[in-house]
Symmetry: none
Subunit: 211 residues, 4 copies
DNA sequence: AATGAATGAGGATTCATTCAT
DNA sequence: TATGAATGAATCCTCATTCAT
């Protein structure tokens, strides 16, 4: 019994080591940079060993994806400390875009995952939806407080989410490079009524939480 | 003299064959699926031959990108027929999202630029900016007509563009699948005051125009 | 524990097989003739396998180079048996030129270094310099014995080395073919006061020591 | 008749253009850098055209080789202006090594040509031998003037030639890099009794004589 | 549980050369 | 005489994955 549990714990540790290694490489060198070989080298195990803990490279990338959403969700839960719902949703937007900009590869993975996710569609869905659910909750609280007058809450939440995502994507891909930097803030304000100015670097995500 | 022209035409045809083959593969299997070898197999030529017509794989993908933007731009120019600026911008939004949904891989390619284009950034930029420029023009005309009161026109255009892009991306990646399909329209309306309902399949882009 | 050692031995054997194959091809067809594919074909493994044992083609050629210098160095150490320094240096010269003639491709590789080695220059340098160092030592001993009067020992050693190398190169490339063969000996004597006549085939190097 | 001659002249011009282009590329980028395609691009003809004037790439490289020797021979003929035979042979040595250092790729080609030359061995031989013959003549004149006492003149000439070549080769390949630069002069003096100091850059060879 | 050797297919390019026009 | 399209084989190298040990 105790033996079984120890084994399980060890296995869990190993999974974390693998994921951390994968994330490190991924954050630094993007999707193309990640290979089973390199992960194996990094954790100082043989390539074959990885397959004891993960079905495939695809599986690993999927887990990274989950972690991304969990991390995002973690940020969202922190927001509950903020009592003013409008203030909160503003900060949430700031967090969202900043998270995307600080973890561009991961962010892309999270939303570019179609191919990766295809097979186990349901599983991943839940975590992405949890994140959206929290966001929707916060939107609802704004509505309850009299903002965002009218309309269906979920509809509104989705619309705002789409706006945040579009902005993040364009910024990540540097598609707004033709705008003077100081104008970016204005655009954001206009689009989302969020003020991104002053967003810090405190959200960078390098895989350290796997340690 | 006729000889030269015939040769030119043949070369042009060959370029189209290559682009079409690349597009076919790309549409079905994504960026990773496209390889010079596979293109060569598809057109039943040797790999080396492709290099007569295109400098590199990157060049080919870039051309695909151009075609995408030109195609989008073509749609935008058609819109000039619509005289009511508000009606026009609504249709433009519908076109935009529909285009994205009908040509998801291509759409991603167009905006996944960063890695592909890096060096000859200016070239591609111009075509992307042309498209944006047209959009901004139409936004301006709405402003002139008294809509979208206040604020800088370019700022507004960018904000709207970001919203359209975000929505398109989420839809492409099927991230809004948790919404009943009939709700999607509402979201769009809310986000953009555009009504996407009824957008047909008439914008599908499968590479047939290379034929 | 025995397992590890066995594996190590097998790996070493594999490296030898690869080097031997490379050497065989190289000796027959020169540098251009060597390719990873051909080596792989020869040892009946897949090309990728070679990369388990060697970093790159460059690495393989480098190892061949090392082997050449080590082999030459081996010959030089044998010379210590000869007590008369003048007799010794004469034999050394004979060995040197004979080695070059018997292993022409290898010899060229050893001195064609520039392109092949560029980066890890120091490593290779050491083995080439070891060989030269030994030669210089022997020259010094001649000087100590009263021959080669005057001048800096290293300077003299380099000068003699250059002469040996020039002669070897010309002979390898068959640039002295216009000389009746029996005259070659005279030239050598004149140039180096060495008598090359009678140098046998005992230094031939065909890669058999990798077996 | 006149027509035939004109054609011949034109053909000759074309050959020169091709050789010049090949030499330009070769001097800048070495043997690997030369390709039929690149030559064709440079002269603004199609690759196929080159084959009207030269049998193969190998043939072209061979011609380059010839030109190298002719150029060297040209330098040697200039030396006849110098009346003091000892002074002359010293300058000749300086010229020789300088020529090698200024045209390293060409020099290597000239002496590394075994593979290239194989087929038409006799042809190339003559030009290399002409160069050597001139050198031997100058050596003879030194002997006649009382220098280089004793021994067969040709033997001596070959020996000196070998020394020059060895030194040149080692210098080209940077194999004497472990020597402080100022020591190189000493080595040369010791080996050849030639003083290379002050050798200028006036021998650089870039193919301009094909113009 | 872990190894690590091996695969086989595939990646983008480049090349000398040929040949119908 | 010249073209230029096409070939086909070659280049080095990388990869996810498997499996006997």
């Amino acid at each position: 019994m105790g033996v079984k549990e120890r084994k399980k714990r060890n296995a869990q540790k190993m999974r974390q080591r693998i994921l951390k290694a994968a994330m490190d490489i991924f954050a630094k060198e993007g999707y193309e940079g990640v290979s089973m070989r390199r992960i194996a080298d990094k954790i100082e195990y043989s390539p074959g060993t990885i397959y004891r803990y993960f079905e495939s490279k695809c599986d690993i990338m999927l887990q990274l994806c989950y972690h991304g959403f969990e991390r995002l969700l973690g940020l969202q839960f922190e927001l509950d400390k903020i009592t003013n719902p409008v203030e909160r949703i503003k900060v949430e937007g700031r967090y969202y875009v900043t998270f995307a900009l600080e973890n561009p590869e991961l962010y892309e993975l999270m939303f570019a995952t179609r191919e990766i996710i295809k097979q186990p569609a349901d599983a991943e869905e839940s975590v992405a939806r949890k994140s959206f659910g929290k966001f929707a909750e916060h939107v609802q609280q704004c509505i309850d407080a009299g903002f965002f007058s009218g309309g269906d809450p979920e509809t509104l939440a989705v619309a705002l989410w789409a706006a945040l995502h579009g902005l993040s994507s364009l910024l990540i891909k540097d598609q707004l490079r033709f705008l003077p930097e100081e104008r970016v803030g204005e655009v954001v304000e206009r689009a989302l009524a969020f003020n991104l100015r002053g967003a810090g670097k405190e959200l960078a995500f390098t895989g350290s939480e796997f340690r």
